[in-house]
């Protein structure tokens, strides 16, 4: 998804965090204790962030992303809790392992609730936040696909019949410009049996993704944390009307609703998202 010719090279590796061997993408000064930390959503993987990691590193930042357990190439150990809290704890362990003390979080989709719970656990470690089609979602009602996943038997049937072509069609159907073919193919390559199972568990455990909104707003708003909000106007899963509402928790947020984008702006408008993120990061101390 790289858009810029001047991006820093992204290195691939792994780390062991909380008993999970996780795939890692990283660029920039790896010894820095302050880093841009990208958290993917569903379906997604660290690969989603390759372009943005490169761009952030080009702006002088250490930048990284990991495959969350049972996403991408990361296999969750037995007993791993496929819950928002479980994933947030994993994220905390991973950052500790990587020596990251201050994080510029970049969150997408389900990475939002996960990242925000981690923020609630360690608010002092948050340097800035970039919300891409995610955030604090008061009053949110699950989208249609999520409701299918959350329904026993129906969810399993759906996952069992999600062939490559059906997956491709489903994803593109709701995207205003369609998604790049290689992006969708890579996403499906990672959408294996483990991931499908993890998705069902995660969605079924999350009754209301907006339930923590009042507490998070109360915690974050007084801190006025630097925030960038990027939202595809035609997001079929998380309505772009939530973009402006992020100011309730992040009063100084710079909000961009991209008029021709869908749920994955970093895939359908990579140049714009990279520009916005790098400019935002340059402004941070």
């Amino acid at each position: 998804m790289s858009a810029s010719a001047t991006e820093s090279p992204v290195e691939r590796g792994s780390l062991l965090a909380g008993g999970t061997r996780a795939r890692l993408l990283q660029a920039g000064p790896v010894e820095a204790s302050e880093a841009v930390v990208c958290v993917h959503g569903n379906p997604g993987s660290a690969d989603d962030w390759e372009g943005l990691i490169g761009a952030a590193a080009s702006a002088g930042r250490r930048a990284l992303a990991v495959d969350l357990p049972d996403f991408g190439d990361t296999i969750a150990p037995d007993g791993f809790e496929h819950t928002v809290v479980g994933y947030a704890s994993f994220l905390g362990e991973a950052l500790k392992e990587l020596g990251v003390e201050r994080a510029h979080l970049v969150l997408h989709d389900f990475g939002g609730p996960i990242g925000l719970v981690w923020v609630a656990m360690s608010p002092e470690a948050l340097a800035s936040i970039t919300l891409i089609d995610t955030g604090i979602l008061p009053g949110y009602r699950w989208h249609k696909l999520a409701r299918i996943w959350r329904t026993p038997v129906v969810g399993e049937l759906f996952q069992a019949t999600a062939t490559r072509s059906a997956f491709r069609m489903l994803l593109n159907r709701n995207e205003p410009r369609g998604l790049p073919r290689d992006f969708v193919e890579a996403m499906y390559d990672h959408y294996d049996r483990r991931t499908r199972k993890a998705v069902l568990a995660l969605y079924r455990d999350t009754d209301d993704p907006g339930s923590a909104a009042p507490e998070l707003t109360k915690l974050l708003a007084p801190r006025d944390i630097p925030a960038l909000v990027v939202w595809g106007e035609h997001d079929a899963y998380l309505p772009s009307s939530y973009a402006e509402r992020q100011r309730e928790a992040f009063p100084s947020a710079d909000v961009h609703v991209l008029p021709a984008s869908g749920h994955w702006p970093f895939a359908d408008a990579p140049e714009t998202v990279e520009r916005l993120l790098t400019e935002f990061l340059v402004q941070q101390k």
Binding site: R177, E233, E244, P259, A260, T272
Partner: protein, 419 residues
């Protein structure tokens, strides 16, 4: 006889005019020029006292369909000499760019209203037979039996005078007072977008000197390179975006344009004057004639500015009216017949376009037919050419649909099979 001094209070009980035109903007001046050149006596009334006054909230883009009327007025060369651009159109859609083959693409006109309006007004003022009355506005209509017979005008000092004429022309814009006084039937259609725009200097946008339009479905944006090395950047999002534009118009415009796919270099540009916005643009369609009275330009049909038809239709409707009533005013037929010719011509030329424009102006997204046509035009040069001819109002919907629809279907089927 009223004075020819544009600033002098005139009039008294002078002889009747052949026509009194209320509104000295594009449509009114064009009407007065045409009638004056035919040897008729015309009073042209404009409420602004300054002959250099101009319409500020306007994209100034003139569709290719309006160019022949401008050429006939003898204004094309002076406009080009004043720096007008002759742009082709490049239209961004989510399916790709719609670009007619360059050698066949129609060319519109881009000249700032600050330059155009004084030019058209001075041409009208210099036309023999045309008496320009600046600083006067139409207050009441005069009647003669069942027919309108002129207008009572008033200046800023409150002086009033009667201008008696065989034909009264309302060219006083979207909120036409003449139309209101005449009580002609009017239909309104809701408009659910806002319009913000401004002139910038800086690096040229892509496709410059051509114009670029983004159909963001449902939002819209445009860049219009124009005279003096300036670029007019405009956004027409739906009204949900109003709060941010109201809060900081220039910042919101810059952000909106900068976040477009393949954006223009607006962030590296500088606004040379405040960004202006318009919130209420209700479409108004009025019956363009009544006994002894006609409406031209926006007074007759005020359509969504998104499609850039206002300026072109002002010139065109003035031409149609002049051509239609000239024989009557020269005594060759009744005025009633002349006005009926105009009514029919106006409806024939614009009704189809207006239907599509009004329908889209409620802020909705493309319907299936539009999606079919736009996607085909992005994939097929011939479809692009037809869409461009329709979009620049050179062919009417009834001419476009039978040619575009079968081809659009075929193009999209071929595209689907090739995937």
């Amino acid at each position: 006889m009223p004075s020819t001094d544009p600033h002098s209070p005139i009039i008294g009980d002078g002889p009747a005019y052949d026509a009194v035109v209320v509104g000295g903007s594009l449509a009114g001046c064009a009407t007065a020029i045409q009638l004056g050149r035919a040897g008729l006596r015309v009073a042209l009334v404009e409420k602004q006292p300054d002959p250099k006054a101009f319409k500020r909230m306007c994209s100034h883009f003139i569709q290719a369909s309006g160019v022949p009327a401008i050429e006939r007025l003898g204004l094309l060369e002076p406009m080009e000499a004043a720096g007008a651009h002759r742009p082709r159109l490049h239209m961004w859609t989510k399916w790709g760019w719609i670009e007619a083959p360059p050698e066949r693409a129609a060319r519109g006109l881009n000249l700032r209203r600050e330059v155009l309006d004084p030019m058209v007004r001075s041409t009208a003022a210099e036309t023999p037979g045309v008496e320009m009355l600046l600083g006067w506005s139409g207050e009441r209509l005069l009647r003669d039996g069942g027919s309108f017979a002129g207008v009572v005008v008033r200046n800023r000092e409150g002086e009033e005078s009667e201008l008696r004429a065989r034909l009264t022309v309302g060219a006083d814009g979207r909120d036409s007072k003449i139309a209101e006084l005449s009580e002609v039937p009017v239909k309104t259609y809701p408009h659910n977008r806002i319009a913000y725009g401004g002139y910038f200097e800086g690096p040229p946008p892509q496709h410059s000197p051509d114009s670029t339009i983004w159909f963001l479905d449902p939002h819209w944006a445009a860049s219009f390179p124009t005279d003096s090395g300036l670029y007019f950047y405009a956004a027409m999002p739906t009204k949900e975006r109003l709060p941010e534009f109201k809060r900081e118009p220039e910042a919101a415009l810059v952000k909106f344009l900068a976040d477009l796919p393949e954006p223009p270099p607006i962030r590296d540009s500088r606004a040379i004057e405040p960004v202006l916005g318009k919130i209420d643009m209700t479409n108004r369609v009025r019956k363009p004639v009544a006994p002894g009275l006609a409406l031209v330009g926006d007074a007759a049909l005020a359509a969504d500015p998104l499609f850039g038809v206002g300026c072109g239709w002002a010139f065109q409707s003035a031409e149609w009216l002049s051509d239609s009533v000239m024989p009557a005013l020269q005594g060759e037929e009744s005025l009633e017949q002349g006005l009926e010719h105009y009514r029919r011509r106006h409806a024939y030329e614009l009704r189809g376009h207006a239907f599509f424009i009004h329908d889209y102006s409620n802020g909705r997204r493309f319907n299936p037919v539009e999606r079919l046509m736009f996607s085909a035009a992005a994939r097929d040069p011939r479809s692009a050419e037809l869409m461009e001819a329709f979009g620049t109002r050179q062919i009417r919907p009834q001419q476009m649909m039978p040619r575009v629809m079968p081809r659009a279907l075929a193009v999209n089927v071929r595209h689907a099979l090739a995937r």
